[in-house]
């Protein structure tokens, strides 16, 4: 049950610093959307605004509307934890919980949200690990620590952990930047597979990756250091990479800037 995300005039601040300025975009359900752009242009900030992770940092706040199937997640009566349960997130660096085994890591979200039934947890663990293409590699050592896996395996473990709670949207913040090409490919394959069930938004510095995996691409940029990031162009990936309307987008994609 994937959901449509609609951002209208989302502006985020860190204290008095304006990080992104009036971002508006619509993300269709069951699609992969890539956010590209130079460092510091606000891609990650925007991504973190979608599951209200932005406000975890002290002094961070947000203006504008962000709706998931017509519910504004920034309404006063919205429960933050419910939003985050609905919108999962995979981080740049794999962050398995160091005190937990592989199995415990995968079911952490379920267990900490009150699911106790062992058979349910076992099923969820196997299903999520299979979806994350990790089951075959770890099925014989589920009791081993999650931190003992390789980087690529750890990242797939984190994806399994994210999808185990059955979110409707999965946000990925440069999920492959710490991985080798083979692990990257494994995760890209995985994204295609997950697209049937989830809406996926991915921030990436790798333009080939954006071109390979995404249906739509948003290009963020800043005029100069200290200025807020803006969404320059947002369109079908095909169009962005072959025939962008904005000069800036073309410069960035062809490597003349950034």
């Amino acid at each position: 049950m994937a959901k449509r995300i609609e951002a209208s005039n989302v502006t985020s601040y860190y204290g008095s610093f304006k990080a992104i300025d009036s971002i508006s975009m619509t993300v269709e359900p069951k699609s992969i959307t890539a956010l590209i752009g130079p460092s510091g242009c606000g891609k990650s900030t925007f991504l973190r605004s979608i599951n209200r992770m932005h406000e975890v940092l002290p002094g961070a706040r947000i203006e504008g509307r962000l709706t998931i199937d017509d519910q504004n997640i920034y309404d006063a009566d919205v429960d933050v934890t419910a939003v985050r349960r609905m919108i999962g997130m995979v981080f740049q660096r794999p962050n398995p919980f160091p005190t937990m085994s592989i199995y415990e890591n995968v079911v952490a979200g379920l267990k900490l949200n009150g699911v106790k039934k062992k058979s349910h947890l076992d099923d969820a663990a196997e299903a999520s690990l299979r979806s994350a293409n990790l089951w075959e590699e770890v099925k014989d050592r589920l009791g081993r620590p999650g931190a003992g896996l390789s980087g690529g395996q750890q990242q797939r473990l984190c994806i399994a952990r994210t999808i185990a709670v059955e979110p409707q949207v999965v946000l990925m913040d440069e999920p492959c930047s710490a991985l080798d090409p083979i692990s990257t490919l494994a995760i890209e394959d995985l994204m295609f597979k997950l697209k049937d069930r989830f809406t996926i938004i991915i921030v990436t510095h790798n333009m080939q990756q954006a071109a390979r995996v995404s249906d739509k691409t948003g290009f963020f940029s800043i005029d100069k250091t200290g200025d807020p990031g803006r969404l320059i162009e947002y369109d079908d990936t095909q169009k962005i990479f072959s025939n962008p309307t904005q000069k800036k987008t073309e410069d960035y994609i062809t490597g003349r800037f950034g």
């Binding site: 962050n95 919980f97 709670v165």
Partner: protein, 362 residues
């Protein structure tokens, strides 16, 4: 800028392409040692200015200097400097361990004399100056009860306080709390004892005791918990801060509420460090004499009730026996000191093993 090539840069004193260097042979090393200690012995005994301790110290210094000179001749300056720092570090390490080893050795050699069943089975009740027996049973009970109660009070308060400071505390109030915790770290134990004496023993305890103030092991435990609290807060705070932010965010992203994230992810990750801090606090509290003397009064007889009447503790027992005129008292003091160190050591090892069992081994 004009053209500047690699060769124009100031050299680092190496011949390019040569990666081999001369090593100081072991025989030369030993020769330096023999000469150094021989020279030291000759100086010390020749002038008659000391005994073998001075020979060792002087010989060691001469050996290091000689080694440095020999190394700079044979191996070159960089290697010699490396050698000098390394020997300094090793020497400092040995110097730091020496007092500890000496303390342990003294405790064991002098404490073993009264390490008998009687010592752990009897109190000092009705033991006069001429009686060789007597033991620390009452003091061991006192230490275990007082430190146990103090731990039960101080650990939850300290850990929760640290969690507040790290996870929730923002702005003025948190800074004020942190400041006062720092100030508390420097409180002398006698002041903590006086505080409990004037507050608990003189004001509160009469309510429970028909208007009479009363010494108790519990009052000592209160004073000890005052001493333990800042150590626990500060060490736990540091450990919680070491837990990476992405770990917390990873849990939030799964829809886990903040309190559960702290309880199930942050604290277990920091647990081994927290346990170390708690054990340091316990070790400090177990060794305190003054507060126990002030508010528990000390006792010669066994008292199992920490809420009523005088109690002793091992540290207080050591203090009293060491100052006692009886010729049998010093041996009791040494054995009690050995017992105290052994209890703290066993507790530390047990706590470490418990904390390690909780976290997975790689």
């Amino acid at each position: 800028m004009s053209t500047m090539t690699q060769s124009d840069l100031p050299g680092v004193g190496m011949t390019p392409g040569n990666i081999r260097s001369k090593k100081l042979p072991l025989a030369m090393n030993l020769a330096v040692a023999v000469v150094a200690f021989g020279l030291a012995a000759a100086i010390v005994y020749g002038f008659g200015i000391g005994n073998w301790v001075l020979v060792v110290v002087l010989g060691w210094v001469l050996y290091l200097v000689g080694l440095l000179i020999a190394a700079s001749r044979v191996e070159g300056r960089r290697a010699a400097r490396n050698r000098a720092w390394r020997s300094l570090i090793y020497s400092a390490c040995i110097l730091a361990i020496l007092p500890l080893a000496s303390v342990v050795w003294t405790l064991i050699s002098k404490g073993v004399q009264r390490l008998d069943g009687d010592f752990f089975n009897s109190s000092m009740n009705n033991i006069g100056a001429r009686d060789p027996g007597g033991g620390a049973y009452h003091a061991i009970i006192g230490t275990i009860q007082q430190v146990g109660i103090a731990t039960i009070i101080a650990v939850p308060l300290g850990v929760l306080g640290a969690i507040y400071l790290v996870e929730y505390g923002r702005g003025r109030f948190a800074n004020t709390v942190r400041f006062f915790v720092d100030v508390m770290t420097g409180i002398p134990s006698i002041v903590a004892g006086l505080f409990i004496l004037s507050f608990w023993v003189l004001i509160v305890s009469p309510w429970f005791n028909n208007g009479e103030p009363r010494f108790s092991g519990f009052a000592a435990a209160l004073a000890l918990s005052v001493l333990m609290l800042p150590t626990i807060v500060r060490s736990t705070e540091e450990m919680l801060r070491l837990v990476p932010g992405p770990l917390r965010e990873g849990a939030y992203a799964l829809g886990v509420p903040q309190w559960k994230t702290i309880l199930k992810i942050v604290v277990p990750t920091a647990l081994p460090g927290i346990v170390t801090g708690v054990m340091l606090a316990i070790a400090r509290a177990a060794g305190e004499t003054a507060p126990v003397l002030l508010v528990a009064g000390g006792a010669a007889a066994i008292n199992f009730d920490p809420f009523n009447g005088n109690q002793s503790s091992l540290a207080l027992f050591v203090y009293q026996q060491a100052g006692d005129a009886s010729k049998y008292a010093p041996a009791r003091a040494w054995t009690a000191a050995l017992t105290l160190v052994a209890i703290v050591l066993i507790l530390t090892i047990a706590a470490k093993m418990l904390a390690r069992r909780n976290s997975l081994t790689r």
